[in-house]
């Protein structure tokens, strides 16, 4: 036991949720220890650049490619996933996958967490999303309303530094306080977005007897743009640049590599919040400390300490077992790991819901060749989307979806432009100027849609543990059961029909082709479908109104353990159609507020 240190709060995980909580506590003078599983990295820019170099030199350019594999704190990779043979768990990667469908999403176990390689899309949820069960009879209701969350959305938008335009975001009932503006003006929409907007002008999607007006709308993004002078009652906003090199990254420069790594940190990552937290002098981060379980007092149900394994060198497996105690505990290791730590501790929750309701956005991609050059592979990954099918009465019938417009050609679905080069050489028999012109004409016209389908909470989609599956340090590997429901499949079918009609209206040559052996391939009623993970892990310790229907309350405090908070997307009862992190950051601010109240109350009692 490290008796020499005395902390008010121990936070497990140095991602965005842990960082925000640490910083809020530190501002109030509380002392905080963050235990982080990832390798020790200093806060200077040079150390960040080493990620960039790893990325340049990595043959496989997937989201986790800049972040070296660490056998002491392994992480899932998108390349691990494959179709699952019924009855045979797939143990290829870090996850043990029981199926029937493979869980394809990933996260990063490095200081800064998954926001190191997120895209930065920062949409709010729709007011309706918070009462989905009440309105549509599907999913679950949140114990909080959109209106209750509004002030916290503002805090989250401030912390992340969101660039957007309020007028563009007022759809499907989303509203803002009078005079509110985002910290920065919207990121300019790509040339592709503008072209699609022209072509789609007046287009209406016809589906099952209904007609839906289609708009191409700018996307709020956690990436620096032009500060809005009207922000904060005219005080303006100062963009936050790269950690250790603040002049860099004051504005997005169009590096087109936001996933997996923004070279200049114009895109928010949690290192920025961590830096502020550490600068208060109240926060310590201990890296290379993998938390394995919590200890608790069976008498009063209080958590009594955190057990962790401190390793020296990520390759040796050598480590020391340690334990530390504090007044309050916060688990912020992201959905899968949070549940895993609780299960490993034998803390199942009265509700029996620990690890259950694992969700993601299955993403269906469709792609085509535009009738003219649209300038693929330039700028941030996505600057616009189509919110049309995010909300509406159809939700009781099929899953809603958001359409993300991709600026990087077919890079996601098929690895463009490299795939086209291979084809041009191997079967196209091209060389010289013909090759160059061909690559230009083809790639310039490429674009893709990504349909983020809302996944319903289902208790059968879950994380469990099994002593048969452990990693090098002897820690549990997550065992995952996962499936896609009919409701979601119907949403995907609607998404394909949307593509068909949109492409017809815009004169786009549909090039969508799915590989029947790829993970996520499905054949449904004459429809070929293919979905992938979005990296939007949610559920696993959902919030609710009582100890029977949920693991945590609306402030993300465990119903069963009064001095433990489980924070992050794992607390979300539904994923809606917005990327989850902004909403998660908002509820994290709420949790931090409650945690501070707890501590204040305790100091009065003492």
């Amino acid at each position: 036991m490290d008796k020499d240190k005395d902390f008010d709060v121990v936070i497990v995980g140095a991602g965005i949720s842990g960082a925000i909580t640490a910083n809020e506590l530190a501002k109030k003078g509380y002392s905080v220890l963050i235990l982080e599983a990832g390798v020790k990295k200093s806060n200077n820019y040079q150390s960040y650049l080493s990620y960039l170099d790893t990325y340049y030199n990595n043959m496989v350019k997937i989201p986790n490619s800049p972040f070296p594999n660490n056998p002491d704190a392994p992480q899932p990779l998108v390349t691990d996933a494959q179709q699952i043979v019924p009855g045979t768990p797939d143990t290829t990667g870090y996850f043990v996958q029981n199926g029937p469908q493979p869980f394809q999403s990933t996260y990063t176990r490095s200081k800064g967490g998954t926001t190191l390689h997120w895209l930065g899309t920062c949409l709010r949820m729709l007011p309706d999303d918070f009462k989905e069960k009440e309105r549509y009879g599907t999913g679950l209701d949140w114990p909080i309303s959109y209106e209750e969350l509004m002030p916290y959305y503002r805090k989250a938008e401030h912390e992340i530094g969101v660039s957007a335009c309020v007028e563009d975001q007022t759809f499907h009932g989303v509203h803002f306080e009078k005079d509110y503006v985002y910290p920065m003006k919207k990121v300019p929409q790509s040339y592709l977005d503008q072209k699609l907007g022209d072509w789609a002008d007046g287009f209406e999607f016809q589906y099952e007897g209904e007609s839906y007006e289609v708009d191409i709308v700018s996307t709020p993004q956690g990436r620096n743009s032009t500060p809005n002078p009207n922000y904060d009652g005219g005080k303006g906003y100062q963009p936050v640049g790269a950690v250790g090199n603040p002049d860099l990254g004051q504005r997005c420069e169009g590096n087109s590599a936001c996933v997996p790594i923004c070279p200049v940190q114009a895109k928010y990552n949690a290192l920025k919040t961590l830096k502020k937290a550490v600068e208060t002098g109240q926060v310590k981060i201990w890296s290379q400390c993998v938390v394995t379980e919590l200890t608790y007092d069976t008498g009063n149900g209080h958590i009594t300490g955190v057990k962790y394994k401190k390793y020296k060198n990520p390759n040796s497996g050598k480590h020391k077992e340690k334990k530390i105690s504090a007044k309050r505990y916060v688990l912020a290791t992201h959905a899968v790991e949070n549940a895993k730590i609780m299960l490993a501790s034998g803390l199942y929750s009265t509700s029996g819901l620990m690890g259950k309701n694992l969700m993601d956005h299955p993403v269906l991609l469709t792609w085509g060749l535009a009738p003219e050059k649209v300038g693929a592979l330039r700028g941030p990954g996505s600057t616009s989307g189509i919110p049309t099918m995010r909300g509406g009465d159809f939700r009781s019938n099929f899953s809603p979806f958001r359409v993300e417009i991709g600026n990087w050609g077919w890079n996601w679905p098929d690895g463009s432009p490299f795939t086209q080069l291979n084809e041009a050489l191997s079967t196209g028999n091209m060389f010289g100027d013909d090759l160059k012109q061909h690559m230009f004409e083809l790639n310039q016209r490429m674009f893709r849609f990504g349909f983020l389908i809302e996944q319903q909470p289902a208790e059968t989609n879950q994380v469990t543990i099994d002593p048969a599956y452990k990693d090098q340090l002897g820690n549990y590997r997550p065992v995952i059961n996962y499936d896609i429901s009919d409701h979601e499949i119907k949403g995907m079918v609607a998404a394909k029909e949307f593509t068909k009609q949109f492409f017809q209206a815009a004169g786009i040559d549909d090039q969508t082709q799915y590989n029947p052996t790829a993970p996520g391939y499905m054949y449904n009623d004459g429809n070929e479908l293919w979905w992938q993970g979005a990296g939007h892990l949610a559920g696993t310790h959902i919030m609710g109104t009582n100890a029977k229907n949920s693991v945590v309350d609306k402030n993300q405090k465990c119903w069963d353990y009064d001095n433990l908070y489980m924070i992050g997307c794992g607390s979300m009862p539904t994923v809606s159609t917005s990327n989850p992190t902004l909403t998660m950051a908002a509820i994290t601010f709420m949790a931090a507020e409650q945690l501070i109240l707890d501590l204040e109350k305790e100091s009065i009692l003492v």
């Binding site: 300019p188 087109s256 060389f431």
Partner: protein, 163 residues
């Protein structure tokens, strides 16, 4: 290999690479990687093979003075339809376009090697990734480098690839 022979071969390699890739010699020179790539190929295979290919290309040029169509026809027949030279020529194009050297196929190695111990698939360097001609060919910039500046993506793309 001595520096002087690399220099000489480098000139031939550059001329040949220009015809293979569709980019002119000054663009290739501008990457600063011509000699590095020549060395990469020589290391992975052997210098004799590279010299033979460069010599073959030089002969085709001599045989087709002021006749680009004829040269293209000859290159297609003599190099890009040859079981020996096509895979190597295509690999040199890959090297310039992506900064990656790809291991030759097993069959090819059996036939023309039969053994190249240093022939491994690898990105030559982080610079070679950034200098990949593929980005110029598609009218973009390497993902993660050579950024084009704020809002550049909102403007029309170039009308043609660079020379």
């Amino acid at each position: 290999m001595s520096n002087s022979s690399i220099n000489e071969l480098g000139i031939g390699f550059k001329a040949m690479s220009a015809a293979f890739t569709g980019f002119n010699e000054s663009t290739l020179q501008g990457t600063g990687l011509n000699d590095v790539y020549l060395q990469t190929v020589c290391n992975a295979l052997n210098q004799t093979l590279v010299e033979e290919l460069i010599a073959l290309y030089a002969t085709l040029v001599l045989e087709n003075p002021d006749n680009p169509k004829g040269l293209k026809h000859a290159m297609r027949h003599q190099i890009f339809a040859s079981p020996k030279w096509a895979p190597l020529a295509q690999n040199i194009i890959q090297l310039w376009y992506t900064g990656t050297w790809n291991q030759m196929s097993f069959d090819w190695t059996q036939a023309y090697g039969p053994f190249f111990p240093n022939d491994n698939t690898a990105i030559v360097s982080s610079d070679s990734y950034k200098q990949g001609l593929i980005w110029k060919a598609v009218g973009a910039h390497p993902m993660g480098a050579k950024q084009e500046g704020f809002a550049s993506w909102a403007f029309p793309p170039p009308s043609a690839p660079e020379n």
